[in-house]
């Protein structure tokens, strides 16, 4: 057995004749971590999937190159060879742990299947080994959870099960395709530590595909930077971060959200005030079912000044989005919501309509937030048609052009459809839809988290710019503290529906008062600290 576990030479991948990966070369040694970094569409996932030959052939093809996995050529290998290699010598972890596990089978069965298929173990042996694996990946109370179904586990736990499945046969190479992107920041750190730890214990090679540079810096030995299907730079991690040679690498490294929040004027008035706002969801509804109540938002009070950005942070399920929806009266809530001096909580739809003009929302997913069947012009002018029906077609067109210019898009694009735009452009369209009415208050619900790093920075700049120009107030919901620091003047930290910390953003970043906030900050800016806190977190 040689040390070189994977050797890729001159590899190209084409779909329907158009090449998406061009002449890529890299190699991984046993016990080494190689990170494949790039923005979405750069071809990193396609490259990774071609190693176990999991691309949709024959639509995909390899015009050139070779993939040597421990000396065995994978391209044009026989089906039997491939089956023997997959899951055994090379295995994969995917981004979305919910869809990667079969919802109808227990954990035991899913992990056991891998063992059964490749090692032909008997019933008892499979069970013993499964338990061993689950304990190895740090799944708490593993023996009780053998019979659990995927939906009974949290995202982090599911990802641990995925890792257990991937490691079941002690592969030589583990491919992790954005293994933590779908997880909360604190869990992300735990999973990374686990991967690193397992890797050194089993002496396997790890190919990590990611766009998260913090993660790369922490665990990768070497980095390949991909851009538009080519590897533009390969370097030792330390060298890459200290002295990047390629222009693209430098832009990628500089693409962190920067800048400081817009200062509010001294005499600004409170625009939106929430007083003990609560949103309860009833679980188990029906005649006979025991009624349980989920307190998604529990007696939250906050004030947003004119021209100010209040950041709301917390992990998923903490009630951030629900709070934003409640303030806009998009879901039913209790408590007082005062907008510009008027309590809008009791208003019916009709009397609420003038206030809809002043309050808008931008969503996280730029793909789901735009109706796929309407042109950009129709999407953007919708609000004007509702609130300013007296406008003629010419005026509508001028206003739409103006809004598109405001968000940095070309006004000639307005007759195209959303699917023709990239994620960042779509988010700009969504922002244009929100600002065309000149609202005073906008809820930004994770507007950057579905975007690439460099695009994130641009959108943050755009939002700050618009805020200064039109005196907008933002409620900025995010789990990413890097972005929040660049925009938010005040900060609200939420956990399980309640506010656990509230105050000036700069104060909280410097002196976080609670353990939870400390962990969030640590996860966003520095992984080392998280390892300590994650141990605590694992206990509860």
């Amino acid at each position: 057995m040689s040390d070189r576990i994977l050797e890729i030479k001159n590899l190209s991948v084409a779909f329907h004749g158009s090449t998406v990966v061009r002449e890529v070369d890299f190699h991984i040694d046993r016990g080494e971590t190689l990170a494949l970094v790039g923005e979405s569409g750069s071809g990193k996932s396609v490259t990774a999937l071609s190693i176990p030959q999991l691309l949709p052939y024959p639509q995909a093809s390899h015009p050139s190159g070779s993939i040597l996995l421990d000396g065995i050529e994978m391209i044009s290998a026989s089906k039997a060879t491939l089956l023997k290699m997959r899951g055994n010598r090379v295995s994969m972890i995917f981004q979305e742990p919910m869809t990667s596990l079969n919802p109808l089978h227990t954990i035991e069965r899913q992990v056991g299947e891998v063992l059964f298929v490749h090692q032909r173990l008997g019933g008892n042996a499979v069970r013993k080994r499964t338990l061993e694996l689950l304990e190895m990946v740090g799944l708490q109370r593993a023996s009780e959870r053998l019979t659990a179904f995927p939906h009974e586990l949290s995202g982090g736990q599911r990802q641990r099960v995925m890792i257990a499945m991937a490691l079941a046969n002690e592969p030589d190479l583990l491919i992790a395709d954005e293994p933590t992107t779908a997880l909360d920041v604190i869990i992300q750190a735990q999973i990374l530590t686990l991967l690193k730890d397992l890797q050194s214990r089993m002496n396997m090679a790890l190919l990590l595909i990611t766009h998260d540079l913090v993660m790369v810096r922490r665990i990768a030995d070497r980095v390949c930077v991909m851009n538009q299907g080519c590897i533009v730079e390969t370097a030792i991690t330390k060298t890459l971060f200290s002295a990047p040679t390629h222009v693209y690498t430098r832009t990628l490294l500089n693409a962190q959200p920067k800048g400081n929040p817009v200062r509010i004027k001294g005499d600004s008035k409170p625009l939106m005030q929430a007083d003990k706002v609560s949103v309860y969801f009833q679980l188990g509804s029906g005649f006979l079912a025991r009624k349980r109540v989920l307190k998604a938002v529990d007696e939250v009070s906050m004030t947003i000044q004119t021209g100010q950005t209040v950041g709301v942070v917390g992990e998923s399920g903490s009630g951030k989005t629900t709070l934003g929806m409640a303030l806009l009266r998009l879901i039913r809530s209790k408590g007082k919501i005062v907008f510009d001096g008027v309590d809008i909580q009791g208003l019916n739809n009709k009397s609420l309509k003038p206030y809809r003009h002043d309050m808008q929302i931008v969503f996280q997913d730029p793909y789901g937030a735009l109706s796929p069947r309407r042109s950009v012009r129709q999407i953007i002018e919708q609000g004007l048609r509702v609130h300013e029906p007296h406008l003629g077609d010419d005026e509508l067109a001028t206003r739409v052009d103006g809004a598109l210019e405001d968000v940095g898009l070309d006004s000639t694009d307005k007759d195209r459809y959303p699917h023709e735009f990239s994620g960042g452009q779509r988010q700009r369209i969504a922002i244009a839809r929100a600002i065309i009415l000149r609202p005073r208050f906008i809820v930004l619900d994770e507007p950057t988290s579905a975007l690439d790093m460099s695009v994130q920075a641009q959108v943050v700049d755009l939002l700050r710019d618009l805020q200064a120009r039109y005196q907008l107030s933002y409620l900025f919901i995010s789990h990413d503290l890097k972005v929040v620091r660049a925009l938010a003047d005040e900060l609200v930290v939420m956990k399980d529906g309640i506010i656990i910390e509230q105050g000036r953003a700069s104060d909280i970043f410097e002196r976080p008062a609670t353990e939870y906030t400390r962990a969030l900050i640590a996860a966003a800016f520095d992984l080392e600290v998280v390892n300590k806190t994650s141990a605590n977190d694992g206990k509860n």
């Binding site: 779909f15 996932s45 998009l330 969503f363 789901g368 109706s371 069947r373 919708q382 509702v386």
Partner: protein, 347 residues
């Protein structure tokens, strides 16, 4: 109107299904031909010349006296006496390819009805000496038009009910669903037979009766689509803009549900036609004398010694329903987003 890329892709997908595309072409040709049935099978000449003047009997009704006869009623051009009158003045008549309408009783076949196929009656005559081919042409038209009308109205009601249930959800949905379930549990055929026997239905009352029970087929599909779409972020965004529920349904949600609806339409059409035919076959359908394929089948069953009746009816239905099913399959493929591998983005 400009086509969106999506529409263009669907049209291309439809055309790619050769069988469905050709079925549509053939069906449209048959439909257009049958819409002009009066010019193809009629007992009145298309054009008539009498004493140097031109008459159009197919469109205008002329009394027999126009041509020197004695009756004030409309001339019966197939009668030898009338022919003689016209031809005696060096007149001529241009007949349609089939000189019988669906109600024309041919008294000059020379054999007892039902008469076997001959050069005079290509598919023979039925048991009251009416031309079978003429009845099939008119019957095809009536079946298809009836089916289309029934499909349109039941889709309209079905989509509306499904939209209201799906969009508003909650109690509206709960109560609506239970009502639909109860209504769908009724023994439809028996009810139709009872209702039809209370009063002899005409085309419109029959349409109304069938409509009572046919609107439910789309409710489930549209409701499901609405339940899915109403929580999408773009619907929320529209609500945040203050757009009214009606406009949200119309602009944001309905277009999604239309895909499922359009996919179902051809199959609902076939179902409608089959229902009409089976009622006619049982004798509870259209009033007696109407050109109906079901009635032709019933005659075939009653006159087993005249196989051309049953066979003609059978093949007419077979061809019509097969064409519609093929079209339906092609439509379904066209709207199936998974089939468009060609334009799929590579990851």
């Amino acid at each position: 109107m400009t086509l969106t890329p999506l529409t263009r892709r669907r049209l291309a997908n439809f055309r790619a299904n050769k069988r469905g595309y050709w079925s549509l072409k053939i069906f449209l040709v048959l439909l257009v031909l049958s819409l002009f049935a009066e010019f193809i099978a009629n007992d009145k000449p298309l054009l008539l010349s009498f004493k140097g003047e031109l008459y159009i009997p197919v469109l205008v009704s002329y009394p027999e006296t126009t041509f020197g006869g004695v009756l004030y009623s409309e001339a019966d051009y197939s009668e030898p006496a009338v022919r003689e009158l016209i031809e005696s003045e060096r007149g001529w008549m241009l007949w349609p390819p089939i000189p019988f309408s669906y109600y024309t009783i041919d008294r000059y076949t020379g054999e007892p009805a039902p008469a076997a196929p001959s050069s005079r009656h290509w598919l023979g005559t039925d048991d009251v000496a009416r031309d079978v081919l003429a009845r099939i042409i008119y019957g095809f038209r009536l079946s298809v038009l009836f089916g289309i009308a029934l499909t349109l109205f039941s889709s309209l009601i079905g989509v509306t009910v499904g939209a209201v249930q799906g969009f508003f959800g909650g109690w509206v949905d709960l109560i609506g669903q239970r009502l639909v379930e109860i209504w769908a549990g009724m023994p439809v055929l028996f009810l139709l037979i009872i209702l039809a026997s209370l009063a002899q239905p005409n085309v419109f009352t029959l349409l109304g009766l069938l409509l009572l029970f046919s609107w439910m087929s789309l409710v489930g599909v549209v409701r499901a689509e609405f339940l899915r779409t109403r929580n999408f972020e773009y619907v929320l965004a529209s609500r945040a803009l203050g757009v009214s529920s009606f406009d949200i349904i119309r602009q944001d949600v309905l277009p999604n549900a239309m895909v499922a609806t359009l996919t179902f339409l051809p199959f609902i059409l076939t179902g409608s036609i089959t229902t009409l035919t089976s009622l006619d076959f049982l004798g509870f359908g259209l009033p007696a004398g109407s050109p109906s394929l079901g009635e032709l089948l019933a005659q075939g069953k009653a006159n087993l010694h005249a196989p051309w009746l049953g066979l003609s009816g059978f093949f007419a239905l077979l061809i019509m329903l097969t064409l519609l099913i093929f079209i339906g399959e092609a439509v379904r493929d066209a709207f199936d987003s998974r089939r468009s591998v060609t334009s799929m983005d590579a990851f």
